[in-house]
């Protein structure tokens, strides 16, 4: 006999720190999870298409749109002049990013007009009928070209400095200089950008946007339309992937849809084709890193001086904070006794680069790891030995201060690395590989272990705040809303677990609802890995408020004290009495208890003074490490990733299933960035890798053949985050730096490891082969 109804349940389904499936998983697999293009369209919905230019840098001398307007089915054509209030959607507020190009084209493909038509097909075809005449201006797409042409910057650079880098470099026993090129990356979210604007009464408009930042869409639309923010409501239930590509890049589509919708009083949808999306929206920044490192014969770093130059594209967008974060991570996991780091956010005639998972941090770390590699090869040592020698020390060791003067208080990197080194049998495998390479003529192998230390918080302190709205209805069902957006990362289910846990009800009692500016205002982007930290705490705060009211109600009604009231699985326990949750809620309602609360959270402790380059920009660090083993073909440069072992720190995981997914997915995405994903512009400044046929993200057959991923079960956040968990979105993206370094080792084997191969990223088969050729001794 089932006695579960008579005995106290030990636990709810869906508590914190338990494995839970994605809240929409059953809909994903059935094809019933609605993305914006799947929603029924309002009657009379029109469709927009971008009118794109085909010059990298030019003055528009004439724009004849008569054929576009005359095409059957075209309803109207918008240009910069048609923006009711402002033609500006610059997220940095530097007014350098127009909705539509106005008189000057700054990158190949920049939209100069938009067509609104009865169908998407008509709009796309009509957009190609424009006759635009140009006066060409000199263009440069590459970092070195930009420097050669005066090095104009899109925003203020940053300098981080501690100690006397120049002087100590002079004094160091050994010194090495080098340069590394690190490629950019297309987000390749599977769902491209999309916006649907539905006009409302007066000046109101409702937007459905595939965005990580509904509040910014709201602000930009209100700015372009010239209406107050309270006239614009932005909704997003889910995105088909974001990865940073939908932090600011949705503004253009939302603004155009809103302008057209208000002008025509009809719903308007913009869904660019994949090629248009890849051409007209920003990507990860490419970097050129120049480094100068002083060290001793043991391999201990004395001083570092490095410059990080970035291809930012034609406008500032988020390039300031992105290049800042590159510098924040140029130390990787290492203590630099004397350091000077500078950023150079360069203007180029390319699409404006933007946020992408890691936000400059990965590029910073790749540069830092390259310096380690250089030292190791120069000394003839295993790079892992050099890494360990240079790790940040324990708090108070004197080797715990970052280049931005933050003390590293929660350092666990040495333990993570030591554990992984043993678990993955690194030393024996490395020896076996060295032996293999001695006798294998064509196929060579490499292995590398690299660490990750990633700072968590928005470096702009104001962004570290969040809100949530929780309603408990009379039947005990719960409505949850917060400012975070769901793009696949599992934020919704994690926050729902927080609520289920708080009230001790099963997860399926919590209804997760679409993010909307109408319920939770003034939100930050779901970015910087912060989603759960911020929104989880805000939701926790909302639940706390409701629970306090419920406890007060219970105390009064049952004439008891708060310590005798507790939330237990599916029930509220008052003294010895257990009342089913719905029943208790009904009683509270009848007693007129407010069953709704807005929660709020702001991250404590952090501050940052950019002018002086000092502060505590990060609340804490997330750590991890990986070992990668690869094989290369020294005749063609082709390679395979044979095995990867990961040990990663997510604090006390709120949901290990989701967290493992973030780590595996982040790893493969980062591996793609460092291997096969190459952006290629031709001499006309045209991006030629603008579709999956030409831009190659990893496939199932590219993933590590053996892929062991473990959470550091013992880890716990030293700070009071939600459930002592840690952010997981971005940190794993940097784990596959070990793939690049393993490829390096395999390449280095052709010259008996005497020289650092200086393999640039992405390490395409071509780059691997060319590195082999550089090192190969004449036969």
């Amino acid at each position: 006999m089932d006695k579960s109804t008579f005995e106290e349940r030990k636990a709810i389904n869906g508590q914190m720190h338990s494995r839970q499936r994605h809240d929409s998983a059953h809909k994903h697999v059935a094809g019933t999870a609605d993305y914006i293009d799947d929603m029924p369209e309002p009657a009379g919905t029109l469709h927009g298409s971008l009118g794109m230019t085909d010059r990298a840098h030019a003055e528009i001398t004439a724009m004849d749109l008569s054929a576009v307007e005359a095409a059957p089915g075209v309803v109207c054509v918008l240009t910069a002049r048609d923006m009711p209030h402002s033609n500006d959607i610059s997220p940095s507020h530097l007014h350098d990013e127009p909705v539509l190009a106005d008189g000057i084209v700054q990158f190949h493909g920049q939209p100069a007009f938009a067509v609104i038509a009865e169908t998407r097909d008509i709009a796309r075809r009509a957009a190609r009928l424009a006759k635009i005449t140009y006066r060409d201006l000199p263009h440069f797409t590459d970092i070195t070209d930009a420097v050669a042409h005066g090095g104009e910057l899109v925003t203020q650079p940053l300098t981080l400095q501690r100690g006397e880098a120049e002087a100590e470099l002079e004094k160091a026993p050994r010194r090495l200089k080098g340069r590394m090129r690190i490629g950019g990356q297309e987000h390749f979210y599977l769902e491209g950008h999309i916006a649907l604007a539905i006009p409302g009464e007066d000046d109101e408009v409702t937007i459905w946007s595939s965005t990580q930042h509904p509040s910014e869409i709201q602000h930009m639309v209100s700015h372009v339309l010239g209406v107050p923010s309270n006239a614009v409501t932005v909704n997003v239930r889910r995105m088909g992937g974001g990865f940073g590509g939908k932090e600011t890049q949705g503004n253009q589509f939302a603004a155009l849809a809103a302008v057209a919708a208000k002008k025509l009083n009809r719903a308007v949808k913009f869904r660019p084709d994949r090629d248009e999306d890849m051409t007209a929206t920003g990507k990860r920044h490419d970097f050129l890193v120049d480094y100068d490192v002083g060290f001793d014969d043991d391999g201990r770093i004395h001083a570092v001086h490095a410059n990080y130059a970035a291809r930012c594209g034609y406008s500032s967008d988020l390039s300031g904070p992105v290049t800042d974060r590159a510098l924040f991570h140029a130390d990787s996991s290492y203590f630099y006794p004397h350091v000077k780091l500078t950023s150079q956010p360069l203007k180029t005639n390319t699409v404006s680069n933007t946020a992408y998972r890691g936000f400059g941090g990965p590029q910073g770390m790749v540069g830092g790891e390259r310096m380690i590699e250089e030292i190791a090869y120069a000394l003839g040592k295993d790079p892992l030995e050099i890494r360990k020698l240079n790790f940040y020390g324990e708090k108070g060791s004197g080797r715990d201060i970052t280049p931005y003067h933050q003390q590293v208080e929660d350092n666990i990197i040495a333990r993570v690395v030591a554990e992984l080194e043993a678990d993955a049998d690194y030393q024996a495998r490395r020896q076996a590989i060295v032996d293999f390479n001695r006798t294998s003529r064509v196929i060579r192998k490499g292995i590398a272990l690299t660490p990750v230390k990633f700072g968590i918080s928005f470096t702009l302190t104001a962004f570290n705040q969040a809100g949530a709205l929780v309603h408990v209805y009379q039947d005990g069902s719960i409505h949850l809303n917060h400012g975070g957006t769901e793009m696949g990362q599992g934020l919704y289910v994690k926050v729902a677990q927080v609520i289920a846990d708080s009230f001790q009800v099963d997860l399926d009692r919590v209804r997760i609802t679409a993010t909307t500016t109408g319920k939770v205002p003034n939100t930050s982007a779901t970015a910087a890995s912060s989603g759960t930290d911020l929104n989880g705490m805000a939701a926790f705060d909302a639940a706390r408020q409701i629970k306090e009211r419920l406890i007060a109600f219970a105390c009064e009604r049952w004439q008891t004290t708060a310590e005798n009231v507790s939330f237990v699985p599916d029930h509220v326990k008052i003294g010895e009495e257990r009342i089913a949750f719905p029943e208790f809620i009904k009683l509270a309602y009848i007693d007129r208890v407010q069953l709704s609360a807005a929660g709020f959270y702001k991250t404590p402790k952090i501050h940052w003074d950019r002018a002086t380059g000092r502060g505590t920009p990060f609340y804490y660090f997330a750590y991890g490490a990986s070992v990668s083993e690869v094989s290369i073909d020294t005749l063609t440069g082709e390679y395979m990733v044979d095995r990867v072992d990961v040990l990663h720190d997510v604090g006390r995981s709120l949901n290990p299933a989701i967290d493992i997914g973030q780590i595996e997915g982040g790893f493969v995405q980062g591996m793609g960035w460092l291997t096969t994903e190459e952006l290629w512009w031709d001499d006309k400044g045209r991006l030629r890798t603008h579709a999956p046929s030409t831009y190659k993200i990893p496939l199932a057959s590219d993933r590590p053949k053996i892929f062991n991923v473990r959470l550091a079960e013992w880890a716990e956040n030293a700070e009071k985050t939600i459930g002592r968990s840690k952010a997981v979105g971005e940190p794993p993206f940097m784990l596959p730096i070990s793939v690049l370094e393993a490829l390096s080792m395999a390449v280095a084997s052709v010259a008996d490891y005497r020289e650092c191969p200086r393999l640039d990223a992405p390490a395409t088969p071509e780059r691997v082969l060319m590195a082999v050729e550089r090192l190969r001794r004449p036969l």
Binding site: K27, L635, F667, L699
Partner: protein, 496 residues
């Protein structure tokens, strides 16, 4: 919208969509299945990710009759034309779950193993995995990866999807309801009833869409419409429509012509009909020419191999088509047909210059004949691409030599990606023939590549890399002929 019609078989496209029959009398030549599903039927589970057959978010299954056999294959709905669906069964993700909402084992495994994150690619993965589930109840990891070559996921890193595929394969309770298996006999009967004995023609003003019933009908149609676009697998023509927005009117869909689907083996070699897909050709070609099998496995993704044809790969004359170099090296001939009759020419003579083939107005590629490879000949084909699978070649080299007394008696070498057409390396061949088959000979012959080719630089590779890799592939070919391991292999033969 679909219109119910009398059972008249020559003026409508008829197919089964999930469990309902569709009769369309007003199909535009360029209408795609994806737009039809999403816009006209509001079956929005099938997604558009790229509209060029590279991401797999639009994957559906298409069942087709071949004699008594009903086989289901994954295809890309984004580049599949509605006009090419006559007499098929189209199965979308909405068809999988039972009516009470119980998920299919493939779907349930994806949930259980956390195989979805953002979920946008998921219906496509589910359909690819479903195709695998139907055809293979014990797939190896290599089989799973092959089935997923045409599906991109940006979130999961694929590990949980592969695990889900393994779990689903073994999750076959006898009572499980499978919509395709349950309806198989009924579907066969319905599809047979749809079969048209005569050419289907749909005209609407300027538009003309023709589906010939047989090769003679195709010849007649092409004689009448000499500028018509002949579409077999639509893996190339699909992009003309979705990306370049080129008109393809009038259009002739040939994928239903049984005569062009024939594979005939004889002592002399193998004849492959122009309409045979890569998937269908795989078994015959890989057993006769194992190196060709390994190459075919890397052409496109599974969906593209299920649609794309070797005939189309030849007829479109691309300089980077993957099948011409090995077929040239094997001495293949191509047979062209028109109402005037047929003619046969060596495949290498078919490619005249970039974008120009020896195909006269009114002619179509009917078949390709590949001669038997003598057992003593060494033959290999190497594809080099930025990403190993589902990528367009930077270069592709095919090699064949015959030795006599340690010397090279004959050599045939051809490359794609090195010139404006698939092209023989005549100087390299000359530098090998008559010489001892040694590394020294190979080293000398490598220099001759510079006489044969002046490759371009583009986003796939620089000219320097193409030249260097081409030379090195000759060395790889030599080393392999000597039994030395010189190529990376992800899964050894037989490895699970």
């Amino acid at each position: 919208m679909p219109q119910a019609r009398e059972n008249k078989n020559n003026d409508s496209i008829r197919f089964i969509l999930n469990d309902s029959e569709v009769t369309l009398t007003d199909v535009a030549p360029s209408a795609t299945l994806l737009d039809y599903l999403r816009l006209e039927r509001r079956l929005t589970g099938t997604k558009e990710g790229c509209a060029e057959g590279d991401c797999g978010a639009c994957t559906v299954l298409v069942g087709r009759l071949s004699g008594q056999m009903l086989t289901y294959e994954s295809i890309n709905a984004c580049i599949r034309f509605v006009g090419s669906l006559h007499g098929t069964h189209v199965v979308t993700v909405e068809h999988l779950a039972a009516r009470d909402g119980t998920l299919h084992p493939v779907q349930q495994a994806m949930v259980d193993f956390h195989g979805s994150q953002c979920g946008f690619c998921t219906p496509g993965f589910v359909m690819s995995l479903y195709g695998l589930w139907l055809s293979n109840d014990n797939p190896s990891r290599a089989d799973i990866e092959k089935a997923l070559q045409g599906n991109l996921c940006r979130c999961t890193g694929y590990e949980p999807i592969v695990k889900a595929a393994e779990a689903a394969a073994s999750a076959r309770p006898s009572a499980i309801f499978d919509p395709i298996v349950a309806a198989r006999d009924e579907t066969i009967a319905r599809l047979k009833a749809m079969k048209s004995e005569e050419t289907i023609t749909i005209r609407d003003g300027e538009h003309c869409l023709i589906v010939p019933a047989d090769a003679a009908g195709l010849a007649t149609a092409l004689a009448q419409h000499q500028g018509a676009t002949v579409v077999a697998g639509s893996t190339d023509v699909g992009l003309w429509v979705t990306k370049q927005m080129r008109p393809i009117n009038p259009v002739i869909f040939i994928n239903g012509i049984a005569e062009l689907q024939q594979i005939a083996r004889s002592e002399a070699g193998i004849t492959i009909g122009a309409g045979v897909s890569y998937t269908a050709a795989f078994a015959a070609l890989s057993s006769a020419y194992p190196a060709l099998g390994r190459l075919i496995d890397r052409i496109g993704g599974e969906q593209v191999r299920n649609m794309g044809t070797i005939g189309g790969n030849i007829a479109n004359g691309s300089p980077i088509g993957d099948s011409p170099p090995p077929l040239i090296v094997l001495g293949a001939t191509v047979t062209l047909r028109s109402t005037e009759g047929t003619r046969t020419l060596p495949l290498e003579d078919f490619f005249i210059a970039y974008g120009k083939q020896d195909r006269k107005a009114g002619e179509f590629v009917e078949s390709i004949f590949v001669p038997r490879l003598p057992a003593e000949d060494h033959f290999a084909a190497y594809k080099i691409s930025k990403r190993r699978d589902e990528d367009i070649s930077a270069l592709l080299g095919a090699f064949r030599i015959a030795l006599e007394d340690g010397k090279v008696r004959s050599a045939r070498i051809a490359f794609g990606g090195m010139a404006g057409t698939p092209k023989r390396a005549a100087s390299v061949e000359a530098a090998l023939i008559g010489k001892p088959w040694t590394e020294e000979t190979v080293r000398v012959a490598q220099g001759a590549f510079e006489t044969d080719y002046q490759p371009l630089s583009d986003w796939r590779a620089t000219s320097t890399y193409r030249m260097l890799a081409a030379k090195n592939l000759l060395l790889r070919f030599f080393l392999e002929s000597e039994g030395e391991a010189a190529e990376l292999v992800r899964y050894a033969a037989g490895e699970r």
